[in-house]
């Protein structure tokens, strides 16, 4: 099962080529059914620059777009098991709470999970380690499974704008690089707006990633330019070049900095003048502790976060905080980063996450 989205129809050759480069996906095919009769390819998008995205209610993908199945990727091997040190059996079921706390699930969520595991174990008479692990995995999977975990790239309102936000040093730029590469390989035309005009050499860093991924980069014209204006230029370039996806990189900001959060709000408002924002991805470092919850709340409020990208899951950290983020704030985890390489990411899958944790 891959991951579907609608992109603008290209000449067929273009779409097929990148297939070879996709590293080790389970399924590396772009199926290209043409769901609707063909109409003139460029009809809808071309006049768009100042136009507010059409308020059409049934925006079922326009005929000119093609369904693309993106290759699936697995990240389960990236997660270290919770049970490397503690043995998990009925006698020390209480220790499960410790194990979960150590995975940054937080005290409340851990207590809740343990109570539930106990209840289920009692009901089913589970006793062996394998049975208990299965119950735990099942529980985590159930609680984290969401229908909206896929990137919202199928509304048909091109370009799909993905705004990437987060605190400093979580891996926003790297995540964007990986995502851009992935989408370009699937044949979409990607534009990246380098709206991190604050940190030293951030633009150069994203430029390197843009080059690697074959995306078009919109740079700030001067150092320290208002990031909102860079984002806006990004929308103009994306529309003019009929790009499928526009990814906006923003500067890292701590959620308690009012001015910086207001700046983010401004970026969002400015972008919405030209485009519909398809996704606001909050990047969270898997090593983050309970502050992750505070981050998610603050960013959700200001930036209207639609999904979480969990990065650095290739380390010893388990990223348990996303459990609470998803459960309490209702923000689904969508992407997972597992390394510094351009291919080191995957789409979040609750069962994989759970299995990785208990295996």
């Amino acid at each position: 099962m891959g991951f579907l989205f609608w992109k603008k129809k290209d000449k067929p050759e273009e779409v097929v080529t990148p297939e070879v480069e996709v590293p080790a996906p389970k399924k590396k095919l772009f199926s290209k059914p043409k769901p609707q009769p063909k109409v003139e390819p460029t009809a809808v998008v071309e006049p768009a620059i100042e136009v507010i995205p059409e308020p059409v209610v049934e925006v079922i993908p326009e005929p000119e777009k093609v369904e693309v199945v993106l290759p699936k990727r697995s990240f389960a091997k990236g997660i270290k098991s919770l049970f490397t040190r503690v043995k998990f059996d009925p006698e020390n079921l209480d220790e499960l709470e410790d194990v979960l706390i150590q995975a940054d699930f937080g005290v409340d969520a851990s207590e809740q999970i343990v109570a539930e595991v106990k209840a289920r174990a009692k009901k089913s008479g589970a006793e062996t380690e394998t049975e208990l692990k299965a119950i735990l995995a099942e529980l985590i999977t159930e609680n984290l499974t969401r229908t909206d975990r896929e990137l919202n790239l199928s509304s048909g309102q091109l370009p799909y704008v993905v705004l990437v936000v987060g605190v400093n040093g979580v891996g926003k730029t790297t995540t964007i690089g990986k995502l851009a590469k992935y989408l370009s390989e699937a044949g979409s035309n990607v534009v990246i707006a380098a709206a991190d005009t604050f940190r030293a050499a951030a633009v150069e860093q994203i430029a390197t990633w843009a080059e690697r991924s074959g995306a078009t980069l919109v740079r700030p014209k001067s150092e320290g330019q208002d990031p909102a204006s860079v984002a806006f230029e990004g929308t103009e370039v994306a529309i003019a070049s009929q790009a499928d996806v526009l990814i906006i990189d923003t500067a890292g900001r701590l959620q308690n900095k009012v001015d910086l959060m207001n700046e983010l709000d401004k970026i969002r408002r400015v972008v919405e003048k030209n485009c519909v924002i398809a996704e606001v991805l909050l990047v969270i470092d898997a090593t983050t502790g309970q502050n992750g919850m505070v981050q998610a709340k603050a960013f959700a409020e200001v930036a209207k976060v639609t999904g979480v990208a969990l990065t650095k899951l290739d380390g010893t950290a388990k990223g348990g905080i996303v459990y609470s983020i998803q459960r309490e704030l209702g923000i689904p985890v969508k992407l997972v980063g597992v390394g510094e390489g351009i291919a080191d990411f995957a789409f979040f899958e609750a069962s994989e996450f759970a299995r990785g944790l208990v295996s």
């Binding site: 940054d104 040093g169 030293a200 050499a201 150069e204 309970q290």
Partner: protein
């Protein structure tokens, strides 16, 4: 529910007041709350366990039973223990006896090494050292570039023979850097290395090689204060893999409680030397274990608040302001400027929440309207320069115009003008030799907070006045108490 540990303990002890003494069971209940508070502050579980064990022992002794206020007593014990684990005394950087001092930075990806390298260089330069930055992160795209920009901003030379982005050998670069520094007589060499995972054996062995090549006087482990339970694993991995001599805690300007500090100190036994508190090159301080303890326990952080005020209201500005006040030239323009400085300190709510006891007035804080400051700003901005300088000219028709221009009402304009006049008057009194009394500014601050509990519109205004007067006196207060060395400049406060 209960915002912080103090609140929780107050709640836990509520029913015990009549008893006057604590039983072992009471203490256990308390310890459960402490455990939870520490875990929520991201202190590693194994550290919490040992810690709570130690507290239990002390609390079951005579100390608590004699206590008049058990809650305070327990918090006190916890605080003392925390400070002890965090290293008690502030440790200074070690310098080499001969030749250049070599400082190597190591840590996970995104912990803030490159930014820190710039800050450290700037700080050392201000101390009269001649630092050179070494670009040994050849991994991350444009890390070399970033270090060059940072070095330029700090006015420090950067040794970057390799372009990076996966090209070049960091060990060789580091080795060459030492020769370069010796030849050019730099006094300190700061080696910025690539971020690496503790479990990445290849990169850890590379870090060891760099260490061997440069034979550093300090290996500083840079860690993000937002890190969770994994802090212990990471710290152990770096301690075992590279060997560290000290710790730097970054991003402390966020609102993470920073339990990692405790985990790292306790697991590695290495002191935390510096704290990094923002992206600006000056946002860098020595680490104070006692303040960190208060922060982990969420007990209010009055000292940091004072320092924050001190930093934002910089010396020159403050002197200028004092002069203006003395000459009775304080105008609405200055008022506006001060308000903006206050805004720079962050959200009013956060600021007030730093005051001790803020937990109890959380509800009032929640109701505080941040926009109030914006409205005041709008009113002042709707005035002509003449009106700002001489509020006396504000007659009814001018006030109406201002109200329209700022989208407020005449009442609001009136109240601002009144407030301003009162503030100006008060400051004038202060300037006329009433300053020494302001040594009480610190105890005075909680009063402002206390006034808040009553709520009410007029109380709100107090706060603004606080902003317009507290910068200088607050610093004075701190100086009087000998908490902060007299110079606000980043250099001397490190006591080197």
């Amino acid at each position: 529910m209960f915002g912080n540990l103090s609140d929780r303990l107050v709640e836990t002890f509520k029913n015990l007041r009549s008893k006057g003494k604590l039983s072992a069971a009471d203490i256990d209940a308390t310890l459960r709350e402490i455990r939870r508070a520490l875990l929520e502050a991201d202190v590693a579980l194994e550290v919490v366990k040992t810690f709570v064990g130690a507290i239990r022992e002390r609390a079951l002794g005579d100390e608590v039973n004699k206590a008049l206020n058990p809650a305070q007593q327990v918090v006190q014990i916890v605080n003392e223990e925390l400070v002890q684990i965090l290293g008690g005394q502030q440790r200074k950087l070690t310098f080499a006896k001969t030749g250049p001092t070599v400082i190597m930075l190591a840590g996970l990806q995104g912990s803030g090494k490159t930014t820190l390298a710039g800050k450290l260089a700037k700080w050392l330069k201000d101390q009269g050292q001649t630092p050179v930055l070494v670009a040994a992160d050849l991994q991350r795209p444009n890390a070399v570039n970033q270090l060059q920009v940072v070095g330029e901003r700090a006015g420090v030379e950067v040794f970057a023979p390799e372009p990076g982005n996966g090209k070049g050998d960091p060990v060789k670069v580091s080795k060459d850097a030492i020769k370069f520094a010796e030849k050019k007589q730099f006094s300190v060499v700061i080696v910025d290395t690539a971020g690496r995972l503790g479990i990445d054996e290849e990169l850890m062995s590379q870090a060891r090689d760099i260490r061997k090549a440069v034979d550093p006087d300090e290996v500083l482990f840079v860690i993000d204060s937002m890190i969770g339970q994994d802090a212990v694993n990471v710290a152990k991995a770096f301690e075992d893999g590279v060997g560290i001599t000290g710790v730097v805690l970054t991003k402390l300007d966020g609102d993470a409680r920073g339990g990692a500090a405790l985990s790292v100190s306790s697991v590695t036994g290495k002191p935390i030397i510096f704290a990094s508190t923002g992206e600006g090159l000056d946002a860098f301080e020595p680490f104070y274990p006692d303040r960190m303890a208060s922060r982990i326990l969420d007990m209010g952080d009055i000292l940091t608040l004072i320092e924050q005020a001190q930093k934002q209201f910089d010396d020159v500005e403050a002197a200028k302001m004092a002069d203006k006040i003395a000459k009775n030239e304080f105008t609405l323009e200055d008022f506006l400027e001060q308000m903006q400085q206050l805004k720079k300190m962050g959200s009013m709510k956060d600021l007030l929440a730093k005051l001790p006891g803020a937990g109890q007035m959380k509800n009032q804080l929640e109701n505080f309207d941040e926009k109030e400051i914006d409205r005041t700003e709008a009113i002042i901005r709707s005035m002509t320069p003449v009106e700002r300088r001489q509020p006396k000219v504000l007659n009814g028709s001018r006030r109406l115009r201002i109200a329209k221009g700022s989208g407020t009402t005449v009442t609001e304009v009136n109240s601002l003008v009144n407030r301003f006049e009162q503030a100006a008057k008060m400051m004038k009194t202060m300037a006329k030799g009433a300053m020494p009394q302001m040594g009480g500014a610190m105890p005075g601050m909680p009063n402002i907070g206390g006034g808040y509990v009553g709520g009410g519109k007029s109380k709100k205004n107090d706060k603004k006045k606080k902003g317009s007067k507290s910068g200088n006196p607050a610093k004075r207060a701190a100086e009087n108490l000998g908490i902060v060395p007299s110079q606000g400049g980043s250099g001397s406060s490190f006591g080197l």
